[in-house]
Amino acid sequence: MANSDDSDIQYYIPRAHLPATIIALRTSENATQSQGDALIEYEYSEEVRGFVAEGEVSIQARRADVRATRDGMVGKIYVSKGDIVDDGSKVVMDYQGCDHDSVYEGMCVVCCKSVEVTTRSHVNMTHDAMSLAVSRPEAKRLEQGNADRLIDEGKLSLIVDLDQTLIHATVGTAIDEWINAQGEMPKDIRMFPLPDSPTPYYIKLRPHLEIFLKKVTKLYELHIYTMGTRNYAAAVANVIDPDSKFFSQRILSRDENSSMTQKSIERLFPCDNSMVVVIDDRADVWQYSPNLVKVHPYEYFVGAGDINAGHLPKQEAQIATEAAVESKSTTPKSQEMETQPAIPLTTDGSNTASAGGLPPSSKETSVKDATTVPPTEPGKTENDKAKVKAVKAKAPVLDDDDNELKHILEILETIHEKFYDAKENFKQHQSRKDADVKSIIHDMKRHVLRGVNILFSGVIPLGEAPERADIWRQAQAFGAECSRDLNSRITHVVAAKAGTDKVTKARQRKNVKVVRPEWLYHSIGKWQRQNESQYLLPDKPGKAPPTSTTPPPQTEGEGEDTGIEDGEDQGSVSEGMDENHQPMSMDKDEITEHLKSVDWDDMEKEVEDFVGDMDDTDADSDASNTQSDASTDGNRSPLLGLKRARVPRRSGLGKSVTFASGQEEESDSAPSDLDMGVLEEREVRDEGMSSDEGDGDIDEESGSDDDDDEEDRPSKNLKRRRTTAENGHAAYLDRGADDEDEGDVDADDEVTMEHLPSRAKASGRDRGDVEDEGEVGGEEDDDFLRELEAQE
C-alpha cells in the first residue's frame, strides 16, 4: 500500500560519478534498511590533478555507496553486480521510505525496525491493543478517514460509560441471597460470572436501554469506555449487545486505559474530537470535557454505588453537594443509619420471607450482609460510605422509573441534528467554522439558564470556595451567572432552607425567586429550565427547631413534578412503601386493575372527614405538645412530631400501623413468625430511628402541601400523639413513625392489596401520587379514629 508520495524514493548514481561500475549490492529486494545504510557499492573513476606530478592528470578509481536517505524498505533493484551505469537518469533502485507510522511492541509494523516510541511521537488509538502505537500524522489520517466515513453515514461518535450510565452492577453475597430469594431472576437483571470473582455479577439494565441503543445507533457510532476490566466490559457488552451490532469491538476498558482515574477522548480520538459526544455519569473523570453530556447516575442496587469506581477519586459531584445539604440533619446519626437495611436486599427479602417462607432470622442476616457490603468494596472510605448512605436516602430505590435514557436520547438527537445542520451550513454558506459538537453542546447548555443570575444559600458548604463547587460550575456551564452576594442582578436564590440571611433579604425583593436546589438540579439534569413555581422555597423555616431533624423541605414539589429526573423524588416517596413490596416483579396490568378497583371518590371523602375531625382539636395542641414530650422519650419527641406531620398525607400507612400494632399487642404472648419479624425489625430500627427520621422527613414531607397544610399537621399530630400516648400506645407510635415497620405490618395485615395501587402509582406515575396514597389509607384511618375516640 503506497504511503504518501514523498516516501517513494528512487535512487540514481550521481552524475559526477558516471560512468560507474556496480561493485556489489549490499542489500536485497524487500530488505529493511536504516537511514545511512549502504545499499549499492559502485566504483567510478575520478581525475586527480597533481597527485603524481604537477600538471599531470591521473585517473583514479574511487568507490562510493548509494546510501539510504531514510529508514525504509528496498523496493526493486534495477542493477546487478558488474553492471556499468552511464546514464544519470537511470534508476538503480526503488526505495520505500518508512515513517514508522504504526509501531507494535516497539517494532515498526511495516519495516520491522525497532522504533522507540514516545508519547509525543506516538499515540495509542485502538480500543483493545495497548501495544499498538500510531504516529500522530498517521493517527490524524486515520481519524480523518474515519470522520469522512461517519459523515457519509450521517453519524457521529458516541462514547458511552457502562456503570451507572447504561447499567447498574453489583456483586456480593447479599445480592446473591436476595436474588435467590426471588426465585426467578427479576426483569432486566442479568447475571454473569467473571473468572476473578467468586460470586457472579448482577447487572440491572437501565430502563429503556434497548430502545435507547437501537435508536442511538442510527445516529451515532457507539464506543464503550469503562473503568471496569476487559473481562467485565466484554461480559456486559455481551449482555446489552449480544449480537455485537451496537458496539462491535469498540470497547475500551480499564486495562487499555493508560490512567486509572481519568478517561480521555484523546485516547480514542487523538486529534479531532469535534464529532465525539460522551455520555457518562461522572464529569470529573472526563475533566469536565466540553464533549460530555452528563447523565444522572443510575442507582438500582442501593448502596452498591459504582463497583468500578473504587480507585477513582471521591466524587465531588452534585450528589455530594445535595447530600451535604441534607446531612446537616442526618450526619450525626449516620452511623445509626447503618442499621437501616440496604433496601432491595433486606426489605424485599423480608417480603419474600412472608411470602416465600424465609425464616425471620435470615432477615437479620441479610441486614448484616447488606450493611457490610460497602466496606468490602475496594477503596470505599468512610466518607464514601456516608456518601452512599446519603445517596441512599434519596436514590431511586428499586425505582424502575428512570427515564434518563429517554431524555439523553432526545439530547443526543438534538446534538446530531444541529451538527449536521451546521455541517450543511458550513458547506453551503462557507460559514467561518466547521461544525463541532463541543460548541453545539456548549450552546445548548448555555441556553438552558440564560439570563439567570443565581445566589446560593446553604447549598455550598461554607469551607469551600463557592466558585469551585460543582454546582456552581454546573450552573455556569448551563448559562447561569453565579454571585457570592445579593445584588441587583440576582434573579434566583437557590436555597437549601428558609430562614437564612440571604433568603430573608431576597424575599424582600420583588423579582427574585427563592427556589429549592432541586430546581437547579432538575433544570441541569433535563437541560431545560424548570418552572420555578413548582420549586419555590416555602416561606417558613421548618416547623421543628433548626437543630432537629427538620430538613429543608426539599422535595416538596414532587406532587407536581412531571419530569423524568424524578428518580430522587420518587425514590423517596416509594422508599417507605416500596421496600416492603416487590416492585420489580410488579405487573403493570395488575397495577392498573388495582387502580381501577379503588373507589377514589369515596376515599377522598373519608380523608376529608378525617382531616375535619382532627382540626377540631387544634386548640389544645400546644399544651399537649409539651405534655406528650415529657411523657415520651425526650430524644424522640421532636421526631415524633415530625413523623406525625406526615400523617395526613400518608395517613393510610401511618394509621394502619398503629392499628396493626394494637393487634400485635394482643398477640404478644404468642408471637407469630410475622410478629417476630416485625419485632426484630423494630429493634434494629430503634437505634436508627432518629436518623431515619431525618431522611424520612426530607422525603416524606415533600407533599404538595401549601401553608394551610403545614399549620394543620402538627396539631393533628399532636392530638394523635397525645391520645395514643394516653392509651398506652406510645411505643407503637414510635413504630408507627417508622416507614419500614409500617410497611411490614401492612404486609402482614393483608392490607397489602389495598396499598399496591398506591405504591404502584408512586413508582409508576409521575404525579398525583401523594394525595392518592392518603386516600387509599383513608378508610382505615377512619376506623382507627373511631376506635380511639371510643377509647377516650
Binding site: 504504526s102 491493543a129 457510532e221
Partner: protein, 147 residues
C-alpha cells in the same frame, strides 16, 4: 524425588516463552538431573535439570497459519498458537480496504475478520525476555485468507 522434580519442571517451563528459545510447548525427556545442592541459609535445594522439549521458535520469513483475534483500522492481530502477530494494512494487498462494520478488511475476493483464518509470513520478530512479538505480511502470493 525425581517425580517431584519432573512435576516441577513441567509446571515451571511448559507454556512459557523465552526470547532465546521461543515458546516451550512440551517437555519430552529429561536428559540429566544434577545432584541437589542445598542453598546456603535456606533449606531449599537446587537441581540443574537438562531436558529436551518441543519449542516453537518463529523465524523471520516463516509462513504460518493463524487465527485473527482482532481487527482495527491499522491492521489486524492474529494468533499463531502462543505467538501474536500483527499485520499492518500496508502489508496487505493493495485492494484490501478497512470496513468498520464488522470490523474487517475486504479485498477483491478475500475478507479478513475476527476468528477468520489467515496464512501469513512473518517479516519481523522482536524477542524480549519473556515474550516474542511478530509482524507479518499477507502481501505476497498465496498468503491471506484461508478459505
Amino acid at each position: 524425588m525425581k517425580e517431584f522434580l519432573l512435576r516441577n519442571l513441567h509446571g515451571d517451563v511448559e507454556g512459557t516463552c523465552s526470547g532465546k528459545v521461543g515458546f516451550i510447548i512440551c517437555v519430552l525427556t529429561v536428559t540429566n538431573i544434577s545432584p541437589g545442592k542445598v542453598l546456603p541459609s535456606s533449606g531449599l535445594a537446587e537441581f540443574v535439570v537438562h531436558y529436551q522439549a518441543i519449542v516453537f521458535k518463529p523465524y523471520k520469513g516463516e509462513v504460518v497459519d493463524a487465527i485473527v483475534t482482532s481487527v482495527n483500522q491499522i491492521g489486524f492481530f492474529a494468533d499463531v498458537g502462543p505467538l501474536q502477530v500483527f499485520v499492518a494494512q500496508k502489508l496487505m494487498p493493495n485492494d484490501f480496504k478497512f470496513d468498520s462494520n464488522g470490523p474487517c478488511y475486504r479485498g477483491d475476493d478475500q475478507m479478513i475478520e475476527k476468528n477468520g483464518q489467515v496464512r501469513l509470513k512473518i517479516v519481523g520478530l522482536k524477542h524480549q525476555a519473556t515474550q516474542i512479538n511478530a509482524v507479518g505480511t499477507i502481501k505476497e502470493d498465496y498468503l491471506g485468507q484461508i478459505q
